[in-house]
Symmetry: D2
């Protein structure tokens, strides 16, 4: 991974974009190792993720060289921060939190957990084992506004690239969401858009589905309606009651959320309206 340069570009589609980009890179003595692109022909948008090897002397110079040759208002990123900071929000369930903290402890993520915030205190002891600051902020006997203000102030103490709702079971207001636009990631315990809202396993049991799932997505104002990053499913049968579905679902939830964090922190995810481009 030494001497690698990562370049992300998003712009209007046009003839010759790959030629332009590869010429600029060649002029900077950078050799393309991986180039993954996507053209949304309907919307006329171009997305690319390039990994190069070679000695890059000044990333701002490269960024400007690219921008000057690409269509106006191109979004160009060269070597984004390689170790993102994460703040985790939790309620009572441990499975997603534990999965992330173990990866953090053994440094198998390209990210660092800087804090955990819980609206209950039952995950405090576990977080402390890994020397991660835990902030207990109860939502009880407070207005939603007061609760969210406390949350926001606590988050603000940390340089968070992403705020991960790792089974955080409070609905966040548009005001709060707006404050952290593009940074809030949620795990929903169904294959969205099935079973939006509360108690999806109960809904799924009532409907008699033969498959359950989980969805990691960006949070937007509309509950459970944000851009989807990762989904996965698991076959079940009639013998699963709600509790059994929930237990089986936890395994999918933690795998899906950790995979989404991996993709995000490796800068493989680009937002495109209400959809995501994911360069695996």
């Amino acid at each position: 991974m030494n001497n690698q340069t990562l370049i992300l570009i998003q712009c209007q589609d046009a003839v010759g974009l790959v030629a332009i980009i590869s010429n600029v890179l060649a002029a900077h003595d950078l050799n393309i190792v991986t180039m993954r692109e996507f053209v949304d022909e309907e919307k006329g948008k171009f997305f690319v993720r390039v990994v190069c090897t070679g000695d890059l002397t000044d990333k701002d110079v490269l960024k400007k060289a690219l921008e000057s040759r690409l269509p106006q208002q191109a979004f160009v990123m060269v070597n984004p921060d390689l170790r993102k900071k994460l703040v985790l929000l939790v309620t009572k369930e441990h499975h997603c939190l534990a999965d992330i903290l173990v990866r953090n402890y053994f440094q198998t993520m390209q990210a660092e957990v800087v804090a955990v915030i819980g609206n209950y205190d039952n995950l405090q002891e576990f977080s402390k084992k890994f020397d991660i600051p835990f902030h207990y902020i109860s939502h009880e006997q407070k207005s939603k506004e007061e609760f969210e203000d406390e949350l926001a102030q606590t988050i603000a103490q940390y340089p968070a690239d992403y705020i991960i709702l790792a089974k955080f079971m409070r609905i966040l207001s548009p005001t709060f969401v707006a404050k952290f636009k593009g940074k809030l990631i949620n795990i929903h315990h169904s294959f969205l858009p099935a079973f939006i809202g509360a108690n999806p396993y109960k809904q799924a049991h009532d409907r008699g589905v033969k498959i359950i799932g989980a969805t990691a997505h960006f949070v937007t104002d509309d509950l459970d309606e944000g851009p989807i990053i990762v989904q996965n499913t698991k076959s079940i049968d009639h013998s699963y009651d709600v509790l059994h579905m929930r237990t089986a679902g936890m395994e999918i939830e933690k795998a899906v959320l950790s995979r989404a964090i991996q993709l995000l922190t490796e800068d493989r995810v680009m937002l495109h309206g209400n959809r995501t481009i994911v360069f695996k």
Copy 2:
């Protein structure tokens, strides 16, 4: 498979049901090879599917013997017809029809296709290759009632155990559905309850899902709301446009529908309210 007896029972739950059933079977010199049961503890219902070996002299005697010992209004079936008759309803898409007709031709299903009805004629030639009667009943220039009357009369010519909507793209009225209660099976091209209704792949693309699916289900009055028999899914990515999703989806659709037909015709599916018990 010689000398096998299949017994299906559905009744109120009670203490000692397995003992009662196995005693009756032993008294008839039948040896249990497979017994799959399910108790819905919440609703107090018991379901069982038993396969026995041994010489059964009179299936009605066995049925009565079981019923006399089981809770009142027990539903008992002994050796249901082993080769179900199927009528297929199609519109223009061939993939489900072809998959079923090939299985029918090579006799790998425990069922027999007795007729195909299409509201277009483009699948007529294919059906004829397999010597299956094809009825072309256009929905055009007719009221829904007239169209459905023609359908019902044509179906009535055949001894159909199940009417398979193998990509039949007309919505059926409650009157029609009532006529064939418990016999109408549909394949819906999404993992229900996501994307109910028309054009699910278009809906799925707009929502930016990372998984597509298909659902085989009993048809009830509420569109796409009937008891689910089989579901399956497939991972996709941002590069799938609606057409690509539809093409990939066809592979799931035909596999899911054929699997549902297999389960139904082997008498492995029991209806339980809006859910199904499937003894694999």
Copy 3:
């Protein structure tokens, strides 16, 4: 789960076994909630797992009642210990160990980890966080016999139902294996029987496979030849080098091993020659 009785039976197949068993249970006022059986017709063997509700006064009386009615040498178990004890053996890789210790800490397994033994010490600190005794037993500068003697003596300090080789990378001698017959569980990082032996991901890469997998199995004298409990796979493509395969494989390995432990500790696994019967 209150007042539940679990019964496991393995015996020669015979006519009327289910009747015999269900009658004995009914005579003890036990109501069958779940009964899963399997008959190996070729080998003439019968396996059953029954869950009952009701007040069981004396499990030995029930066991004897069953044995007296069943074919000779029937293996009958009534209410085996519900919380199995596990000793974990590890080398350097953390992913399986961590997954199990987290489940142990939050008590989501029907089992208890009583000790960890490592032939390196790098997982000591992690194990200590969870107050699990860690024994560092290096294999270096010792004969295999000395090393295994130390292992065996350390294990002997604990009442272990199963010894889990959670990525323990030393081959164990037949002598050692014999000492813990039926109790040693290994996770192998391939879908056995493909890629037996060392460095399966290197072998898989050389072969150009499009799928990788993992296998949890009982350990017998023949390396990687013991009865398989759980397997799972994941699709890969040409872009996966050996390191990437290993990283992706870890996710499957930990899921497969934890699933095997769950099945074992819930007494859902029966040995049948070199195969396993797994009642899910």
Copy 4:
């Protein structure tokens, strides 16, 4: 799909290859829609598949322009034949043949079946339904050499891009394989390299595996050792006997083989030693 140009390149890796290629394309007024590349850093090889739009006047001119700028001995292909011809070899099993002939009939493959050759005649009637020439060439009362000569002569009557062994159960000699190097595609009914050779389901049952699979691969001299194109698997349990495994396996086999044919005929597969690069 109008006006699309497909370019496949395989050459030694070097700095600036993407720039070279994209410049040549831009100079020919071709706009890159999709570019998928792979660099085998260990072996120093570069592979790329490019789809362009624009008016290509002369594909040979473009090919030469690319070759003159790329490393020596680059393999460059511009607009390979878009509708490959397939000859199918079968024995007795119908499932793969039927799946391919249905796709051929409805023209959902980018390929055309020009003939079927069977060493039994039981699939003749089915092939004839689709107006595909069927050649019955029995292997009985002939030397292997005579049999293969007949096969080769019959194949030679057709302009075959690929010869698909669609459950052809005779082992082919190195002489025969050499004659059709790179064109012979086989479906093996296991996840290779597990269960090489005869009767893989029997082998799998004896081994007690919990997963079965299928593999589509190029045929080389070493039985079941050729480059793998597609693999897939399915979970099974102890209740599957050999027959049940075979029946369940057929569903995987036909899906895997048809997928491989699709990838090959869309020119998405490149050979790289004993491995394949598959640009999906």
